[in-house]
């Protein structure tokens, strides 16, 4: 599903140029659950953003479902993104002005799903993440774990083929963390491809394969 070869990514500021990713190549198969690990600053988030088409790459090739997307423009990317990829962040990133229901509904609105259908699907996923009773609350009125479950619900409501999760349990205690991991595993079992960045060996054990990074390069791959 994802085939990245010889990827280079630089960050340029006035004084220095940081090499965030250095001739990195990875492959992710359909239906795989991959964990990405490595010390802070090694480029994990950068990689995830590139996979998610939130950020450009400077050199190399990125094939998504055998289509070269490295040179896609903003419109094509956003099209590809909204139909295929769901995101879960460490800091939840829910929109404060919208209720739980509306946050989850948002991706469906942008993909022009009719209202009745939206309602059905949002309620389904809210049911699945067990947050249905809080559907009309605003994010600040929820605990961290609940917020992350909403974020997961939002990531999957469009039935994306790929879910990208950047330290999804980073802000949660172990109970809440395990719940979220459980959710991701279920999704994976139903066929969704998952790429997850984590610092936790415990969480990484949920995955099929662990990619270890150092200084912008893949140093080791272990199959779990």
């Amino acid at each position: 599903m994802i085939k990245i070869t010889e990827l280079q990514k630089y960050y340029r500021t006035e004084e220095v140029e940081t090499v965030a990713l250095n001739s990195l190549s990875i492959d992710v198969q359909k239906g795989e659950f991959v964990a990405v690990m490595g010390p802070s600053g090694c480029g994990k988030s950068t990689l995830l953003n590139i996979i998610g088409l939130l950020d450009d790459l400077d050199e190399g090739s990125y094939k998504f479902n055998d289509i070269e997307v490295a040179k896609f423009n903003e419109r094509k990317r956003s099209d590809l993104r909204k139909h295929n990829i769901g995101f879960v962040f460490q800091s939840f990133n829910l929109i404060d002005e919208l209720t739980v229901f509306e946050n989850v509904e948002l991706p469906l609105i942008y993909t022009k799903v009719p209202a009745a259908e939206r309602k059905k699907r949002v309620e389904e996923v809210l049911e699945k993440v067990q947050i249905m009773h809080r559907r009309n609350h605003f994010p600040q009125q929820l605990s961290g774990g609940q917020q992350q479950r909403v974020a997961v619900a939002r990531a999957v409501v469009n039935n994306p083929k790929l879910i990208l999760a950047d330290e999804p349990t980073g802000n949660l205690d172990s109970n809440n963390g395990n719940e979220v991991m459980q959710l991701l595993t279920e999704l994976n079992d139903q066929g969704t491809t998952i790429v997850m960045v984590t610092h936790s060996e415990h969480d990484a054990r949920y995955s099929d394969r662990i990619i270890r990074m150092l200084d912008g390069q893949v140093v080791m791959t272990t199959v779990g």
Binding site: N49, G52, L54, D55, D56, E74, R75, S78, D79, R81, K82, H83, G86, F87, F89, N93, L94, I95, D96, E97, L98, E102, L106, P107, I109, Y110, T111, K112, R154, N158
Partner: protein, 785 residues
Amino acid sequence: MLRNYFKSAIRNLVKNKLYSIINIIGLSVSLAASILLLLWVWDELNFDKMHSKGDRIFRTAAAMGSTKDRVWEHTSAPLAIFGKEELPEIEDACRIQEYNNFLLFTYRDKKFNEKATYVDPNIFTLFSFELLEGNPKKPFTDNRSIILNETLAKKYFGSEPAIGKLLQIKNGDSYKVTGIMKDMPSNSSLQYDLLLPFDILAENRQHNPLNSDWGNFDYQTYFLLRPGASPERVGKQLAVIHRRNQPSDFFKDLIYLLQPLEKMHLYDVLGHEQGMRQVKIFLLVAFVILLIACINYVNLVTARSSRRSREVSVRKVVGANKSHLFWQFLTESSVIFLLSIIIAIALIFIFMPLYNDLSGKQMIFSLFDAKVWFLFGCTMIVILGAAGIYPALMLSKFNPALALKGILPGLGKNNGFRRLLVIIQFSCSIVLIISTLIIGRQLTYIRTADLGYTKESVFTFSAFNFTKNYEAIRDELQRQPGVLGVTTASQSVMNLMSSTGDFNWDGKPANMSNFIINQLSIDRNFPEVMDMKLVDGKGFTGTAADSAHFIINETALKQTGLQNPVGKTVTFHDQPGTIVGVVKDFHFKDMKTRIEPCILFINPYWGWNTIYIKTSGKEAQAALNSVEKLWKQYNADYEFNYKFMDDSFDEMYRSDIRSGKLFNLFASIAILLSCLGLFGLVTFTAETKVKEIGIRKTLGASVNQIILLISKDFLRLVGVSFLVAFPLAWWMMSKWLENYVYRTNIHAWVFIVAGLTAFIIAAITVCGQALKAAQSNPVKSLRSE
């Protein structure tokens, strides 16, 4: 989708109440204010535009001399007749004479003093004034016909039909009502209530028939030209006709100027801007008010959009594309704008009566008025363009991976564009403050200037029967309690409307053959009662010889070039006489006019129509009472209509005073709006710096240091605005003051005061907010991020 845009727009408004309120107040107040201003401008621009042939109607003014510096807006009576007959370009001509004194009209037991106007009978076909009853082609049946406006008809006849009724005047004549006209619209320069046939003026003039009296420039003449005719050419030919009929050296460079009727209100005869300046100023103020409000809006929205980067990124991440975000932001701006329009409309309706009062107009605000919507449309485009589209584009463009981290290209905290806008805004405000001060000073200057005679505690009234036995009545008035002095003159000394070329002296140079001098017939004690100063000579003696004595003013002396004038013989209206004094220059016209030559003489037959009573502030009431008692004895039929000269004076400048007040009002609104914007911006800055402030405070920063942290940037911007505003204001106000011949100077202190005011207002706004932020609990502020 649209519903979703609206929902999130309204949520955002409600969540950020303070900003929403600032934006909505700012926009609605500025919309309301600028629409009110534009209504005023519109009203001014539409003066005299109600006539269907208006573009071909011209008022005739006579001008003398190559420089055309002496112009009067009256002509002789035959000009209209000869012009119409001889010049094919002239389609029609109408003469009007406003009779300056009151006539007493009686109907049964109703008696009123009215000002009558003599008009040619084609007034209703040449102009488009509406005749409600009567024949517009022949409104007068004979010389004893009269036309009333609706108001007067109602006053005399109530609900009875007025046509055919007879109105009596004092001398026994009675006039039959042959027409009722609609009251002339308030934006007409011609304002007449009661019309009499012009031909009445020709009666009893066997020795000097009216229509061959070329020398008496006492009538307004309006010409209707044929399409395509050149008014300049017609003017020149009229002068040729005049000279042919009255060959006199005096008229050798007489020229007639045809001024378009539609320009009468805003331009002078020579086409120089008069009221037009005010119109332009108000237009500018309206623009500035809108500009300031737009700047506020753009500033706040762009400043805040950086705060919203996270929301926008999240939307992008879950699938929003550029156009989704673009429309979302545009919807937000539109919602704010719509709310503002509604409030603005309400504000306009609420303040319209007050505004009409203040401006002395009868403007009507209507939602069916295309220009109102035109203005709304324009502002909306600016607001949505600058404030909606700009941030929408910025926000929809950026890289969401960076934006989630709070890194935003172009929308960062130190946005140069936003600073520029703040500088523009504050420069406008400072310019307005300076203008307000200078306009105020000029108006005070005029009102307190030494006129060369006293206007304090002097009241005047028309003499009526007092003229018959003036000397005796003067002495009787003099004895009344509270009366300090009594005198009379043929006209108002404040606005002298009589001049002549019949003034000659030995050695008058040939090039001065058309020298013109203003003339005022006075009682001999006039200079003394009115506190006028003689710079030479002893003045009138109080003997019979005074009838051949003249006093001239300093300007007359300078222009004639007479040496040792006192005792010199001159001829005035073909009568020789002696100059017995030179009076210090005094203002007998308004301050916009340079003082001209003037001659004072004693001749009761000129009609000593205005009586001047000097009293003192304390005794004014007593004087009024006693004069009125005497009035009733002699003038039982007439109302006692007195006027203090102070009030008459203010009336002369009423439009200036009104414009001054309006200007103050709108300038204050503009200044307040700038402050509102600044307030919003500072509040926002303080908010974004909550975390920084919290950390600094935990590390030991004092309140003062934090205030400085927040304020210094803004106050620096205000400082830069001074540098922009001062020269601009100086230049603008110098131009404005040129309007006045007698004017105040632009003092440095005006700039200092304006600068300080602006700075203090800005500092209060900024530091108040900064103080609030600085005093907040650091623990709380740290947690809030």
